[in-house]
Symmetry: C2
Subunit: 341 residues, 2 copies
DNA sequence: ATGAAAGCGCTAACAG
DNA sequence: CTGTTAGCGCTTTCAT
């Protein structure tokens, strides 16, 4: 192993070492245009021997092409993200495009900053979570002139294209299913609404569905941070202490729901007969629980896949029209914690 | 909202719009050098009004500086990653450096490819999981001439610097603790060893500790993929059906361990009296379980933090020496599933 | 405090 | 099939 060079290798170094013009070296390394096998071998050998790694910065500037897709999401630790990312990656792997991730922590100012940073790299497209953005963010996206796909949510007006589900409808459908099953004293438990627009929309749809049957949420419990499973446990305990008469709990996500479920099993609650439980997301975790929590699939992998496909299509055919809004239809999974109607 | 321009804005556009030279515009936008307040305001106003976003590609090429740190990890969905990332982000947020993530899926060829891709962007540093890399990968890292920190593991020889724990020692210590508690018929359950070097090293350390007391692993159960919690459940069921006499189960990670624990609680096993359980990682999830699984902290957040600090120091003071190896010392947490010795 | 010139390392476009 | 020329959009360096 030779000691690190003070200056990174350039195309010119490979050119000189192989006795081939820079241009031809570039052609070989990018598999573009016709190059004779003899020259190709010479170049490849020299490049590999020297350990040359092309400089994409220079390449991107010269070609005005950056094969990066900015993916901007609120959180990493969420079970939702890895699956969306999986869907995106699988599609982009078949193309020269590469995803690059930015995280906003549900903070609009941070979203703006992350977006600015990413756009300054001139990516080929943007996939961004949610339809709610600051005016500045929207302006940047518009001005960028690149394909933008807003994901997860379809309740609103997309800047360009959107792929997701209607969280309002998801909440409404769960509300109706719960009523149909005969539950009447219903509690809601979840993240403090506000920054998380999708959780808020589910809550709104849910209360709306209840209201249509003349029913109001009996009680609510919110949390901000901490161990989600542990929070579910704690919140469930709190709400049931306050309102032992509740006969159904709707959680803003499966993880808090799972925490609640585990605690209630320990306590010997009669689920789903005396009390029903439901979450949201259909995370893998539920497969390992003693009883399967009722939930609703959030179509994460498909959202990622479709979003990436839209970007890909637009990059390959820039003149093609925007895909508009793609609304997927999640189904309720009753599991073992909700009576069937 | 005006319609997207066909060409992204350049410094020159801002220069013309504000009547200030490109150079001075550049100075204002980067807060470098002295610029009069009048000019500064003129430029800032124009840039904001036009929605100008600087082109970092060009900037990076001209300045030969890219404020990116490549972070290369095997997996995203793992509970381990977000915490490492959190540690890294918190440190880098105080600097101009930004992390960019690449995922290898535990596949050496993919690691090589991802590394090549990332290095071609000429990052300021690399944080990469593990000490095992292909020769080509090692060569690229050496040749890059940038600071490299290998994280998670310290059992081996780092290319440059390393921050982590000794997984061999972690396995050994857990083995000793289990023996001290009086367990003798011990089973191991985990991911198929091989690609996951750290899991393998824990297993080796573990068997080594048992061997010193003349004890052999009674039985093992491996899995490749699927729901981890569900797999833990399934594997535990399998191993106990085959060997009902086992009195302790060591899992390669907390998630499979948690799955096993949930199943055993349902089945009414006498934990930790008749049978003990232990995992590895100390993930947040455990806080919400009916009983707390015995485990060992893998120091993920601190590893991320320390790694980022090393990169930062080297970037700010290039002449400073490599940090060498930093071995953290995780402690066993006995939880409720292991008798105390 | 501001500007002009040169060039970062590569690729597009054209010539041969 | 191979080479030459002219930038990509910015920053460095040196003048003014």
């Amino acid at each position: 192993m030779s000691k690190p060079p003070s200056r990174p290798l350039t195309l010119r170094d490979v050119s000189e070492a192989s006795g081939v013009s820079e241009m031809t070296v570039s052609r070989v390394l990018r598999n573009r245009g016709d190059v004779s096998d003899t020259t190709r071998q010479k170049v490849l050998t020299a490049a590999k021997r020297m350990g040359y790694v092309p400089n994409k910065i220079a390449g991107a500037l010269a070609s005005q092409r950056v094969n990066l897709v900015a993916v901007i999401i609120p959180s990493m630790s969420n079970m939702v993200f890895p699956e969306v990312m999986g869907g995106i990656s699988r599609v982009l792997e078949t193309s020269p495009l590469q995803p690059v991730v930015g995280v906003t922590d549900y903070i609009p100012e941070k979203e703006e900053k992350v977006l600015y940073e990413m756009l300054s790299w001139r990516p080929s497209g943007v996939i961004i979570a949610g339809l709610e953005h600051s005016d500045a963010s929207r302006a940047m996206l518009q001005a960028s002139g690149i394909p933008v796909v807003e994901i997860m949510d379809t309740d609103g007006t997309p800047i360009d294209a959107a792929v997701g589900i209607s969280h309002r409808r998801a909440g409404r459908e769960m509300g109706r299913a719960i009523l149909r099953a005969g539950y009447r004293k219903i509690g809601f438990l979840g993240t403090r609404l506000g920054a998380d627009h999708r959780a808020r929309k589910r809550f709104e749809g849910f209360t709306e569905a209840l209201a249509k049957s003349g029913i109001e949420i009996s009680d609510t419990e919110f949390y901000t941070e901490g161990s989600a499973l542990g929070k579910g446990r704690e919140m469930t305990q709190n709400i049931l202490k306050r309102r032992p008469d509740l006969d159904c709990l709707y959680y803003s996500n499966d993880i808090v729901g799972a925490g609640g479920l585990l605690w209630m099993i320990e306590q010997g609650y009669d689920i789903p007969e005396k009390i029903g439980l439901a979450g949201f997301n259909d995370v893998e975790l539920l497969q390992g629980l003693p009883r399967k929590l009722a939930t609703m699939d959030s179509c994460r992998a498909e959202i990622g896949r479709r979003a990436a496909e839209i970007i890909l299509a637009r990059v390959e055919t820039p003149e093609s029209a925007s895909a508009g809004k793609v609304e997927l239809s999640p189904k309720i999974n009753f599991g073992d914690t909700l009576r069937l109607s």
